[in-house]
Amino acid sequence: MIGALTTLVTTPIGPAAFAGVAWGILGGALPGISPSITMALLMPFTYGMDPTVAVVLLASTYVGAEYGGSIPAILIRTPGTNAAAATVIDGYAMKQQGKADEALGISLYSGFIGGLFGLIVLVLLTEPLSTIALAFTPTSYFALGVLGLSVIASVSGESLVKGLMAGVLGLMIATVGTDPVTGLNRFTFDSPELLSGIPPILVMVGLFAISELFVQSGEPGWEKAPRGSVRIRFPNAALWRRIALPQAIGSVMGTFEGIMPGGGGTISAFLAYNEARRWSRHKEEFGKGSPEGIAAPEAANNTVACTALVPMLSLGIPSSNSSAVLLGGFLIHGLIPGPMLFVKHPDVVSGLFAGLFAANVAMVIVGYMIMMPCIWLVSRPKPYLMAFIYALVVSGVYAIETSLFHVGLVLGFGVLGYAMRRFKVPFLPMVLGVVLGFMVESNYRRALVLSGGNHITFIQDPISVGLIGLALIFIIGSLLRHATDLRTKKSSVDSPQ
């Protein structure tokens, strides 16, 4: 922790945290632009940066976007991010009562509390894992990849089959390029640009950012923010005491859902809202402008912004779209999240922790100052915003490797993403497949080479056994949940009343 704070003072990660938060708030405030898209748009800019500064910039964007989403939720009844959907209920009701300033203050303050709580959880849970990093063998890494892929079962949404299909498609994309053992070219179509494979960042920018542009092209414009000045008013002592419990509930929900694959900010925000109402002395105010109804979901989604990094940093497994994009940010700088990250790049890890602390502090300062630019931005005509985002994407993607071929690939993945949305196929399983595909294949084959082709090796290594066991628990748990959901759906169809 001391190392992290030293890094904060001696490197430019403080300014990076402020810049990331500012960008995140602006992006999160735009309806339809999720935290993952905001991060994906920024990623090409980080290419030439110091790795620690780059990952801090991206992680801070995530923190800022989670708060930014609540601004249009409160002001124009349109959540900027999915996670801010729960904030709409009481945030907009408070705005109608002329208390928009207070609602924004509660949102910002609760986000700050949730973010700090999440950071403490992140530091406490990830660092101990570094102690087992050196014991990892190719067998363990293969098992780790399998554990990552088992997450597909819980992030598949409504259809497990479609989720699995997306995962397999991701694994197929990961096979493009040079074979990890023999060095032969696979699926490269004699294109030199494909020899090193398809960078996961291109898949993510295409799936998240370009497909969203395509979807938005057929959607009507969003409502304008109110004219005139809107300020933030932080809670007074009485209100502070009243929202302490919902903030605690939100932080606990955010911790649990952030760590669990497929949980994420949206689910945690609604769970926190529900629990806050259950434990409140003013239940009747919920839905009519309750401060507690803002505090709980905002604390929850900002806690998730930190706790979602626990499986990503310690195991290399992204549990949400945003943490998948952050993982992409690590990869383009040659950093591979997982157990060895703590051994090989402890400076990056401590820098990230310090940067997240700075980002949470920055959220309060920048969040207070950026309100008017945010309202101005949300009020711009949608065609201009769409055009600028499109220009930013094509410029940024070209900048990664100065390749127009990559720009074309991103457009292609945008079309694929659009088709996946139309056919209700989830993105995250495909991203998991792309990110983990190479690790799974290379370590599977290396482990077999080392064991003379004997598959028993995977149940001889204790770490491997533990990870595969965990993967099985994940898969069985997800299957049971899917079965329960199906039964519930069927029984509600059979008896509509």
């Binding site: 030439g48 397999v168 053992v181 092209s217 220009a391 094509v394 410029s395």
Partner: protein, 159 residues
Amino acid sequence: MNRDFALGGATLALAAGYYLMAATIPQSLLADAVGPQGLPKTYAVLLAGLSLILVVRSLARRRVVSTEPAVSQGRSAQRHALWRVMGMLMIGVIYILVVPSLGYILSLAGLIFATTYYQGGAVNRQVAVVAVAGAMLLWLLFVMLLGIPQPSGMWPSLL
């Protein structure tokens, strides 16, 4: 034909094509027991299996629902949305085609102008100014501030 049936059919064809391509990967003397074809073929078989499940399930569901008017209304909206997407895609494709000769600033200004117009903006001086200013801003950001080169086009050769 419902969506799941179409999706299952498309991914089944993709799996077959991918399997055939995987089968053409040459074997190497350095190859391990699995080989460069091993996992790609496995993935193709997995995708084919999942696609078949989707197709069979969609056929089983097909008997249940018949909502003709809603479907035809939905189809017209879908077709409209698809044309919108094709337009946006074409703007991007044209950008890729012209940027090597026209250069970054001019091509990007064109992309911003075309996208704004396509999204419902007017064709007037304001849009043109915003397009050029936007392109200049991104050029300053990428090329001047971050030092990341963007295509310069044919202009340097004319000087």
